[in-house]
Amino acid sequence: HVFGQRITLHERAVTLEYVLKEIEKQSNYTFFYNKKEFVDFGPVTVSVKNHPIHDALEKVFGDKPYVFNVTGNVVVLRRTKETKDEEKPMLRKPETNQRDIRGKVVDSLGNPLEGVSVLVKGTSRGSATDSDGRYYILAQTGEVLTFRNVGFLVQEVVISEGQMSVDVILHPEFSDLDEVVVVGYGTQRKADITGSVATVSENVIQSRPVSSFQDALQGRASGVQVRQGGGDLSGKFSISIRGIGSVTGSNDPLIVVDNVPLFSADFSTINPKDIVSIDILKDASATAIYGSRAANGVIIITTRKGQAGGSQFVFNTDIGVENITRMYDVMSTEQQRLLFVEAFKNSGRDISVYEDLAHPAWQVDTDWQDLGTQTGSRQNYNLGFSGGTEKTQYAGSASYLDRTGTLINSNLKSWSLRVNLNSKINDWLRLSTNLTGSHQRQNVLNNDSWGSEGFRSLVYQHSFTEPYDEAGNLTAINTTAAPYFGANENPLINVLLPTRNDNVTRILGNTKIDIDVAKGLVISGNIGGDIVLGDNYVYLPVYQIGLFSRDEGSVTVPNNQQINWISDLTLNYEQKTGRHNFKGLLGFSAQQFLTKNNSVTGTGTIDNALDQLSNQTNFNATGSEVRAGLVSTFVRFNYDYGGKYLLTATVRRDGSSKFGADRRYGIFPSGSVAWRISQEDFLKDAPFINDLKLRVSYGLTGNQNIGDFAFITRAGAAPYVFGNSVVVGNVPQNIGNPNLQWEANKQLDAGIDVSVLDGRFHATVDYYHKQSEDLLVSTPIPLTSGVRQDPIINQGSVKNTGVELALGGNVLTGTVSWASEFNISFNKNRVIDIGNNSIGQPLEIPGESIPLSNQPTNLTRAGNSAAAFYMYQYIGVWQLGEEEEADRWSDAVPGDPRYADLNGNGVFDVGDKTFVGTPHPRFFGGFNNTFAFRNVSLSIFLDYAGGYQVYNTARNLFSRGVPFVQNFAEVADFWTPENPSNTVPRPSQGGNTTTLATMVSTRFLEDADFLRIKDVRISYELPSRLLTDKFLKALRFTISGTNLYTFTKYEGLNPEASSRISLLSAGIDYTPYPQSRLISLGLSATF
């Protein structure tokens, strides 16, 4: 605590309350007084500059009949009852029966609490605890000591006869109604919020080692679905808030970091250790302040700020090991050989080579998945510091992360530095700035077009090929001919030999100036920027491995820049008149985005040491640059009457460069009302309920994520060659639509917030009805149009309805405590209408086709959920005796797969496809329990989702019984006349059986419901009495396990896998970077 704090006051005829608040603002002092004693105090006029508090208060009270008593930073005010000079401050003489009571105040973990105010009830006697939690106070038998501290429940103790010491344990206060929630362009008290906003606190974000903020968010907030589809070490997450509102546009929420709305989707370079809160704006009332980008919700990230007081350092580290949670169960070589025999027999081909047990191929059994994977490791070191004076506070951090991937040759290193500075320049000017710089280097594996990051190649290759020769060198197959044995490459060549680096450098920050123009009126200016620079490097080396060779090396150096500038000007006005409270916000904002991509490829080196561009002889370069802009005006108005009836109204007008001149501007209004029933007289004194609030909101937001310049017909590059020289080609690439406008999202939200027993238990329930209209749909036109991009038009609507429930509470308090948080969200998605196609039928938008079958798994059509699964229904295997029916149905024979004849025409055709499921969970959520006993705490966090399916593409490729690729072990039970399986059809190589077995069908569509033990953490906080060294203030050890176990029937590697970014192809598992289990040890030291 800083003593001798100086006060500056220049006030004329203001209330005492105002003066005291002013002093509180300028200092650490807190006033305690009984309002009734001060009702006739009268107006105060005072002028002091840089005076100690005593002097300032002397001036305020003059010779009025009041006394004050300063102890620590607590000031107790009292009206004198007798003569005004009877009690002079600090000079009171003890009464005869009074004595020194002493004691210690600790929290439930036994840690001493500093700065707790101790008052003798009904008197002006007060004191405060020191840094050891100790206090002294004069009191007498029968008097009551009141202990108060922010964030703790008030405790009262009656002094008994002869008692000389009172030790107290303060229990935390659970009510968070006074907590501040970050809303767009400002903050609000939680109690005053009228919209639907979820907050994830620092505790939760920092509770476990995470790779990014999305990771930290998973399962923590109702209505927010975070799905880790796979990806590389930098993570590949998708976030959706309240379902899917846009069919062909983006469904990503807007992410705002410290007043900077982000543009780049690369979040892995934002250090999660710097985040102190994540606020998720869900309903239109909360999001409309972000207008045209708000339709998918808004996530506001706030980073750590400095606090006045002594400096503090926190050092965090975690060190852990990672293992792949699950691998595919593939056939042994012997099983694969038998598969060849049966398949070739069924396809009428010679099988002698496969029956020759002496053939060298059958002597090898390579476990490619084992060879291509390893135990990964993770080390993270983070040093944070903060501190400051009354005028200037600072915070900062330095961080280093080093991960080795679970796939060989993949790793990631990341460095970040951050500084935050807040300064009160003078009475009317405040300045704050945040600046983060980070750099991330990653070695990635080859990314095939379906994002499998190299893992799929380990599954695909046959076990009967050798990885290394006798000398231990990589080998390639030259003893067998591929057309007779199938896929026989050595996948390790592509994993080990090329170099593929992805580097990202990012500078993200903002500077904000607040000017107090007049009482209640603040003008703020904010300038922010987010600069993301990517530079990658790929070198394909020269090598000769068996017959595999590359005679010339090749270097590709792609560079990309994403530069995002924002400037905001806001005016905030606040006024209280009696029970009427007004708040107004008027703002202007301009934002510009620049995306620049360049790539140079050079080939020709013949020496792997010469692996730079300058060593190459032939070159090719590409480049593009796109600018986009957004210019906005917005207004927000908050009103409440006595904290009981609350109203919020917001309007934003956005102008966007993504639309033509006639459609450039959009207006997005919203309104909401709330009624805090708990403030009504009939409930105000109810001991049980401390908050009960009803909220209703309605509003309009927009979505503009459609790419740039869709409204004009553009010429795109189409290079051609004459001789051996590349020439520029330009061709029409779209049909421009000048009438393109925003997607509109109308959302109704009704919610209840309840908090009972001093906030010990709380619950929030929300119902929402979201209708997206004027959808930006890219409507298919005939291929005869000759342009590659279907025109985007505004057409149709999608509806999402849902219920969200969040419950929480402190079930047990005291020595053994138990806190529990639970959330669940239900969402139902319906495509109402996306227009008609050329022949007047409802438009159907298929998803991407699955390899080999070349059929899509998803279909978006009115009346179903977006991207619902649409395919044949697998009903088993044709059996002996069904020859005739099978032949008529699809030239099938016994042993062939059988699909339901849904249109009943006796023939297998596209009319037999049907809607069979949805990739979007009907419900999902998280459940966290934290138990604490003295210095040990245990937390168990579960997340889950259900009511959805995932298409297991790996099985579609590797469980077909077609032996030219490695098959999964399940196929070993294939149908034969002797083994009339009704689940696994007979093997084949080519022909009708193969065609039938390759069909996209429910055979490979699996329920993906899961319950995952996402995180279990045990931490031990060193008792403060052991920290004799004054240098170290706190020390905590943690052991945690992430992704410990997943309960699911899904047979793939991860029930959340979703390889495609496009919603239209959601829920397709194409063997992404496998999910891993992380066991880590953590240490956190504060000094």
């Binding site: 390639a476 593009s624 460069s657 001789g723 061709v731 049909i735 005869t784 050329s838 039928q841 070349n854």
Partner: protein
């Protein structure tokens, strides 16, 4: 702030702005050729050589190899799309030409128009042979209804093709000086005549075919190459044997070709997507093959054999009684300098050698003349391949000559995306392919053939992509059998 909302597109340009200058128009013409890059990197080969008696495949299960193509087949859909993409681009050039008032040279203007018409004819010629009567789109697409047109008849499409080629042969220069917009490698008037000869041959208009071929043959700057491999190995690109080639170059996948890897076996980092049909396999390899295998079709001493075929150099484990090294892959386009799918070798579309065969075939169909010009033409090819000249004794009548000509055409042009069209126009596709399909107990789908309205031959058609019937209400009927 308003300026933020009107950023100028960089690196791309509004079409309206592009097509106002000669330079812009030239880049638009260059774009007309670009669909050739994807068409001839494998997809056209799949629809032609794989679907003929020359090639077979071992992995894909829904290929035209065994004629189980359905109307959602993605390869025929890609080919359809690429062909129409080229047509749209040609139409855009032709529709916008009049908007450019100044040309550096009248010859440039004529060459631009000639190239657009030549390419439009080339693309429609492929469309009509694969799919039959197709929508005849001749204007720039400005709205979706411009693209929604009904199928024209086969006859109507050919009327347009001939008209475009007439114009092209008149407008195109005999050779190119090489400056920007006039680079060597663009089609010349001779290329237009050559393409015209192929169109007439397809329609059995023998006299016109012979005449058009003669126009090309009589150009003394053209001729055969002594080394057959030089037609494909990048050493004689746009040289004196060349009439029209897909031009590949540069260093990235966008402008180079993967056809080398398409044919190469996996052991050489290829896909072995099409293998040569081989009687030795007797249907035992992957899919069907043989009975009329290409491997066996080469006469002893044919210098082209080792250029077209290469063996795996392995014991024949499929049938140990067969000699070692009796398993083959297609070597013709295999670029050993570029094993990673970035070959710069051009792909020949019309060669001088084919013109000799076209005229020989047409002359023989008009009338068999013992030791006539047709014999000379056929023997020019044979002698160049190290074979002996055919004599009247060996080919005593029209039918014998026809057989010899067809065999020579098969060898000379194998895997150049010709064989399927030849079998189809001769009306013998079913007969030739059925021999192979017998190995799998399959029947050639005669229900998917039509009687060609001009030649009267049985003619197999690929399906129009089924999605077109959904997105174009005007389109009309699907081809029979789908």
């Amino acid at each position: 702030c308003e300026s933020l909302l009107e950023p100028t597109p960089r690196g791309q340009i509004a079409l309206d702005q592009l097509l106002t200058t000669e330079e812009g128009l030239i880049t638009a013409v260059n774009g007309v050729y670009q669909p050739l890059h994807t068409l001839y990197e494998g997809n056209v080969s799949r629809l032609t050589d794989m679907a003929s008696d020359d090639g077979w495949t071992w992995r894909k299960e829904t290929e035209p190899d065994i004629f189980i193509v359905d109307q959602t087949f993605n390869v025929s859909q890609s080919v359809w799309t690429d062909l129409y993409t080229g047509i749209t681009r040609a139409n855009t050039v032709l529709s916008r030409m009049d908007g450019v008032s100044e040309f550096s040279d009248a010859a440039v203007r004529e060459a631009i128009e000639g190239q657009a018409k030549f390419m439009r004819a080339f693309y429609y010629f492929n469309l009509v042979r694969f799919f039959g009567g197709v929508p005849l789109i001749l204007q720039e697409i400005k709205t979706r209804s411009d693209a929604e047109q009904a199928r024209a008849t086969i006859e109507e499409v050919y009327v347009q093709i001939k008209s475009d080629l007439d114009d092209a042969s008149r407008l195109l220069p005999d050779s190119y000086p090489g400056n920007t917009g006039m680079e060597v490698g663009r089609p010349t008037s001779y290329a237009a005549h050559a393409l015209r000869s192929l169109v007439h041959l397809e329609l059995e208009e023998w006299t016109e075919a012979a005449a058009a071929a003669q126009t090309v043959i009589s150009n003394t700057s053209l001729g055969l190459l002594p080394n057959y491999a030089a037609n494909f190995n990048g050493s004689q690109e746009n040289g004196h044997t060349s009439l029209f080639e897909v031009q590949y170059g540069g260093v990235t996948a966008a402008t180079t070709t993967a056809i080398s890897n398409f044919f190469a076996p996996p052991d050489l980092q290829g896909g072995a997507s099409i293998l040569p049909s081989d009687d030795n396999l007797e249907g035992k390899g992957g899919s069907l093959s043989s009975g009329n295998g290409l491997v066996q079709a080469f006469e002893p001493g044919d210098t082209r054999r080792d250029i077209v075929l290469k063996n795996y150099g392995l014991a024949n484990f499929i049938d140990p009684s067969k000699p070692d090294g009796s398993l083959y892959f297609v070597n013709k386009f295999y670029n050993t300098n570029d094993p990673v799918g970035l070959s710069t070798w051009n792909f020949p579309l019309i060669r001088y050698g084919e013109m000799l065969l076209v005229r020989a075939e047409a002359l023989n169909e008009i009338d068999y003349i013992a030791d006539g010009e047709a014999f000379n033409l056929l023997n020019t090819i044979r002698l160049n391949a190290g074979l002996s000249a055919r004599t009247v004794a060996e080919l005593p009548d029209q039918e014998a000559f026809r057989e010899a000509l067809r065999k020579e055409r098969r060898i000379e042009l194998c895997f150049e995306a010709k064989r399927f069209h030849d079998l189809n126009r001769w009306g013998i596709l079913r007969d030739r392919v059925q021999v192979q399909m017998d190995y799998l107990g399959l029947d050639f789908p005669t229900q998917k053939t039509i009687e060609h309205p001009i030649t009267g031959k049985e003619y197999y058609l690929y399906p129009i992509p089924s999605i077109e019937f959904v997105n174009n209400a005007q389109l009309g009927e699907q081809n029979p059998g789908y």
